[in-house]
């Protein structure tokens, strides 16, 4: 679906992309990782036809720079930093839907699934929304159309665990008919979400590996956690993951989205001294579990 041949990009004397060769097939879910300055955002901007570059890019046989509307009509993009748009939310939805031939109601519906009630913020300027609301709206705009390629720059960074669960469900619904490229500084943020990892450093691809894909995007883990004693900080953190405790505040139970389990365990590592027992059980079907 995407082919980059000897793709290079220079800013004055600095070489930001250095001879990238890449083939990405339909249905692949790629984590694009690397430190700041590795070239992730520049690669995205080249794929979106926003930068001129040396070498060749083709997306479904078309060049993003010279055939912009044809290529971008099939791409949903979520930026890392929301743009400071003063226009009302309603107009942003209408504008993007009109350009990409999408149904604005579909965008509203996806926003609603992510926990964002568009009707109540339709007249509010986009710039006045909270970070999480902006992120949900941009995700809804990207997923609210039939894009074959989803390019997302740290899309879940500002989402709460509940919204992240739904976000993974939304990605799961698209996984067979869309290619996803998800950028992150940290592999643990996105590892369970993808089936291929590409690491960039100084404008080059330094790692390109397939990932075992045993847990589906829509998978769920039932979690039971036994704390040595009740702790306010742990309780507050687990409450954000919608966990509930017994009367003593020692036994906690809840559900973790499959792609979020590394992040969950990473969060728990801060409280490792408090944890006496931890059990994660994958829910494989209605009523069935596998530990």
């Amino acid at each position: 679906m995407i082919r980059c041949e000897n793709l290079s990009k220079n800013f004055r004397r600095a070489r930001v992309l250095d001879g990238i060769n890449l083939d990405i097939a339909l249905g692949e879910r790629i984590a694009l990782i690397g430190s700041n300055g590795a070239g992730k955002t520049t690669l995205f901007r080249c794929l979106l036809g926003e930068y001129v570059y040396d070498g060749k890019i083709s997306i479904e046989g078309h060049a993003p720079r010279t055939e912009r509307t044809r290529v971008l009509g099939n791409i949903g993009f979520v930026p890392q930093l929301p743009p400071p748009l003063k226009m009302p939310v309603g107009q942003l939805i209408e504008f993007s839907a009109a350009l990409s031939g999408a149904d604005p109601h579909q965008i509203d519906a996806i926003a609603a699934r992510l926990g964002l009630d568009v009707a109540s913020i339709r007249t509010r300027p986009f710039i006045k929304l909270s970070g999480g609301m902006k992120q949900k709206l941009l995700i809804a705009i990207a997923l609210g159309r039939s894009a074959k390629l989803l390019i997302m720059d740290e899309p879940a960074a500002n989402l709460d665990p509940e919204a992240r669960k739904i976000f993974f469900d939304l990605l799961a619904e698209r996984q067979h008919n869309a290619t996803m490229i998800i950028s992150s500084h940290r592999i643990d943020e996105v590892a369970a979400l993808v089936n291929r990892v590409i690491e960039m450093d100084l404008g080059k691809i330094v790692l390109d590996d397939k990932v075992a894909d045993d847990v589906s995007l829509s998978g769920r883990f039932a979690c039971r956690l036994l704390a040595r004693r009740a702790d306010a900080a742990l309780a507050k953190t687990l409450a954000t993951w919608q966990f509930t405790a017994d009367a003593d505040g020692c036994v906690w139970q809840g559900e973790v989205a499959g792609p979020d389990r590394l992040r969950f365990i990473g969060m728990l590592s801060r409280y490792v001294a408090l944890i006496a027992d931890l059990r994660l059980t994958e829910k494989v079907g209605a009523g069935r579990t596998a530990e």
Partner: protein, 275 residues
Amino acid sequence: MKQLWLSARLDIVESLRARWFMIYTAVFGGIVALLFLFGLTESRVLGFIGLSRLLVTYIQLTMAILPIFVLITTVRSVAGDREAGVYEYLLSLPVSLGAWFWGKILGRYLVVFAPVFLAMLAAVVIALVKGIDVPWDMFGYYTALLAAMAACFLGLGMLISAVARSTDMAQGAAFMTWLVLLLFLDLILLGVMIQGRIAPELAVSIALVNPLQVFRTAALALFDPQLIVLGPAAYVILDTFGATGYKLFALAYPTSLGLVAAGLGFFIFRRGDLP
């Protein structure tokens, strides 16, 4: 066409919510209000009385304010949007670069022209209510002159925005452009002419290249058809163009200059990195 209009509408909505637009509207509305308040329609200067006197003063003030206002606000918002990441997101949507760029110009043109025109229109309406005679030919020509002025400086602003890679650079370049045009109104031209270093015809030609001077002369020509206040330069202008010819030139040249500058800006915008 749909993309062009969507882009234009987007720019209009963004501009209407911007602080600069409120100040811009307040300035021109305020000028008309003040001119009425100070009873300018009652005063008589060079035989001008009533609304024609007010229109002459309004166009002179507009010529001083509009160019720098349009230049600075255009480069600030266009280059500022690029720096802030607005382009990165909006240009990831399937919009052609032509529709985006020209739509932005169209939207901004309406936003820039509307307040100056509506302020002048308000003056006409007040005059009609008060029973003051309205010089319709003058009103029509000044409207066209304002439209040409807005097109000219908007085009120059878009060119500067396309060339400059940062808001600071764009603002600096816009200010320098305005300053150079302002200096060539009188100061530098008069200076070099007094020193006798250039022929008067060349000085007049330079003045005719300067859109600010073209507007000023055209505004003068309406109440001073022989351009007596310009002195000998008037002979060169009137011999070359004729009175009507010059009035048409004063509309066509700045508009063309703005369109050429915008076209060049688009060429540069399309060839380079967008965000």
